[in-house]
């Protein structure tokens, strides 16, 4: 997994609540058996005017000029600003794969759906929950200022705005550790093989029918 330490990135505002994973990556792209290459189809139905299918040359497709991610002032954005319940719906990890492949590294929102939130951390994406009022303020600031960037410091758990204002954020200690060091969960868990085996012995004795 790609490490995440410090980032200064352009912010793009996606001003709608309950953005679901079907919207982030429509189902026809889930047919891939790979992990990469989903970026050009992130938000496909909002981003393009035609209907997207796997295998199309996306560079030739008509873009929806009204969709915020297509606006030139937000080109190259690495920070997505969103509203509540971001990432709801299907558990598809293709959603964070698509966002990451698109170039995003941080998502700021008042709340996230649990599975999506979890999936982000496995893919080098940092989702940050902020107060709804702070998010609201950021929406106003981003829309008012072309080229608005934020500094996100995971080690210090601090976001710094262009005018020097600092916003502290919470992050789970274990997830922070994994993200800072780019650690693979499976390797970490396998350090506890003895614990797992001991549990299994006890569990099998208590509920032998689970092992029949």
């Amino acid at each position: 997994m790609r490490k995440f330490t410090l980032l200064e990135g352009l912010v793009v505002p996606l001003d709608r609540a309950n953005v679901d994973t079907d919207a982030i990556i429509p189902k026809q792209f889930l047919k891939s058996i790979k992990r990469s290459g989903f970026g050009p189809n992130a938000f496909d139905e909002w981003r393009y005017l035609d209907h997207g299918e796997p295998g199309m040359d996306n560079s030739k497709r008509p873009l929806n000029p009204d969709f915020v991610l297509n606006q030139p002032r937000y080109a190259g954005a690495q920070v997505l600003l969103a509203r509540e319940n971001f990432g709801c719906g299907s558990s598809r990890e293709h959603a964070p794969w698509a966002l990451e492949d698109f170039g995003l590294r941080v998502i700021l929102a008042p709340s996230f759906a649990d599975i999506f939130f979890n999936n982000c951390f496995k893919n080098g994406l940092l989702p940050i929950k902020l107060d709804a009022a702070i998010v609201d303020g950021l929406f106003k600031a981003v829309e008012a200022n072309v080229g608005y960037t934020l500094k996100v410091d995971l080690e210090r758990q601090l976001i710094t705005t262009p005018d020097g204002q600092q916003i502290a954020f919470e992050v789970d200690a274990f997830r922070k550790h994994c993200l800072l060091n780019g650690l693979d969960d499976i390797g970490l868990t396998l350090q506890h093989v003895d614990d797992i085996k001991a549990f299994e012995t006890k569990h099998r004795a208590a509920q032998p029918w689970l092992y029949a």
């Binding site: 609540a17 047919k31 319940n85 719906g89 558990s91 990890e93 759906a113 029949a212």
Partner: protein, 470 residues
């Protein structure tokens, strides 16, 4: 803590180790596998030269991409080459790693959340995961069940464990008797209407109360299936005789010599009297009416007696924007009575409502009637080959076919339209599935979530009707 919730009991009995900050390794008893969220996990195992920790805990079936018509060509006959590759990849991975798989053509194949319980592969007291958000379905068996991402699919395959933190516990209590024509689906939608699609975020929900105790296992699965639409990763119902009787005799159920011990343990799987919850929501069963969603999120729901809401009356500006966008997408005008909304297609199926009881409910409404002329397609897609066979043994297929419904092969079908079953832009559908998101059933398609009874009644009338009055 002397009194425990059901969730506490399930959690505590699966903690392998726990760090001071609450991050735990949870042991997983069962992982269900389908073709969409598993290929990258199997690939990860291969790249790291790992083997599944306990291969017998895995059970696979293809469901999302399988065609619901013309099965005669087998996997090779799947028209879309990319869908075909995904099903072939699942078959190849299962063969390579020794995973039990119910392939296309096997009567046991079906939507993963219908197939698992039907086989007895979901048992009370288990932890169950699947790379699919509707894994919450299995909580109906007093199991701790939730969806996981593909990285976690690989993690559970490799270690039999999941890294997790305990959620808060929410009690949703539904007391009383459901009215005529009111089902578990209506309870689920009413709960979501009440708490919102993020209302359960961070919680594991236990559904309890006399109305829940009165539901069949099929009904409880419908309810727990929709817990994820309320934002909760897991939904669950205590174990009782209904649970035990359902499990008895199924292929993966405990063998006779272990049965009594299993039942004795299962009977402890309920919240203790006096157990405390972090949140409680109460509903009166008698006041729940048949539900119909009008928007693009399951919380945008009202009853059949209701009207499409007016965005001008939304509680705040963000909601107003959401409602306006939803009405524009749905092609609806504020204040339209729900029972005047006409439908173009009807879909009865999905892991929410494609079990035998749902087939019976649809057939009971359709019996002796005809699908309305304005309905272009009314399709019934059983949740598994076994559901299909059972329905056919009861003659339900004949009733439905005579009424003008199509009777299909099992799979996810138009729940998410990954195969050929989909809505065309602008088409309006009465659907028994669980998500009405934009584009879910086909780009530009308009989904109204309802119970099987309500979907069948809409097919017959050509518009939504109060099934309690037909």
């Amino acid at each position: 803590m002397s009194t425990k919730t059901l969730y506490d009991k399930l959690w505590d009995s699966h903690v392998v180790r726990q760090d001071a900050d609450g991050t735990a390794l949870i042991y997983i008893d069962r992982q269900l596998v389908h073709e969409v969220t598993s290929p990258q996990a199997f690939e990860g195992l291969k790249l790291a030269a790992r083997k599944p920790w306990r291969v017998a805990s895995l059970l696979a079936t293809p469901d999302h991409n399988v065609p619901t018509t013309h099965r005669s060509g087998g996997v090779a006959g799947i028209a879309d080459p990319i869908s075909r590759l995904q099903v072939e990849t699942l078959d190849a991975n299962c063969a390579e790693f020794g995973v039990t798989e119910f392939k296309m053509g096997d009567i046991r194949q079906g939507v993963v959340h219908v197939m698992g319980p039907e086989q007895g592969a979901t048992l009370p007291g288990m932890t169950v995961v699947c790379g699919d958000s509707h894994t919450s379905t299995h909580g109906a068996f007093a199991a701790l069940a939730h969806g996981i991402g593909t990285s976690e699919v690989e993690h559970v395959m490799a270690t039999q464990c999941l890294v997790a933190k305990k959620s808060k516990a929410m009690l949703v209590k539904v007391e009383g008797t459901l009215g005529r024509g009111v089902t578990a689906k209506d309870i689920a939608l009413a709960v979501i209407g009440k708490i919102g699609t993020a209302g359960g975020t961070g919680y594991a929900i236990e559904f309890a109360g006399s109305a829940i105790g009165g539901l069949s296992m099929e009904g409880r699965m419908t309810l727990c299936n929709m817990a994820i639409e309320a934002g909760a990763r897991a939904g669950m119902v205590a174990c009782d005789d209904t649970t035990i009787n359902y499990v008895k005799g199924r292929p993966f159920a405990p063998k006779p010599e272990q049965w009594d011990a299993a039942v004795a343990y299962w009977k402890t799987l309920h919240s203790d009297a006096g157990a405390t919850f972090d949140a409680t929501v109460e509903l009166d069963a008698a006041s729940i009416r048949p539900q119909v969603t009008w928007g693009t999120s399951p919380e945008m729901v009202t009853s059949i007696d209701g009207r499409v809401p007016d965005p001008a009356l939304a509680p705040d500006a963000v909601k107003r924007g959401d409602w306006e966008r939803a009405l524009a997408y749905m092609g609806l005008t504020a204040n339209t009575p729900i029972n005047e909304i006409k439908v173009d297609k009807v879909f009865i199926g999905s892991c929410t409502n494609a079990r035998i009881e749902d087939m019976r409910a649809a057939a009971a409404v359709a019996k002796g009637k005809k699908v309305a002329a304005n309905v272009k397609l009314a399709m019934v897609v059983p949740g598994s080959g076994l559901v299909k066979a059972q329905a056919e043994a009861e003659g339900l297929d004949k009733i439905l076919l005579e009424a003008g419904f199509e009777w299909r092969e099992p799979g996810c079908s138009m729940c998410l339209a990954m195969n050929d079953d989909r809505l065309e832009p602008g088409e309006r559908c009465a659907s028994t599935s669980n998500r009405n998101f934009e584009g879910r059933q086909g780009q530009g398609g308009r989904t109204h979530l309802v119970s099987p009874e309500m979907a069948a009644a809409a097919a017959i009338a050509g518009h939504f009707v109060d099934v309690s009055k037909v």
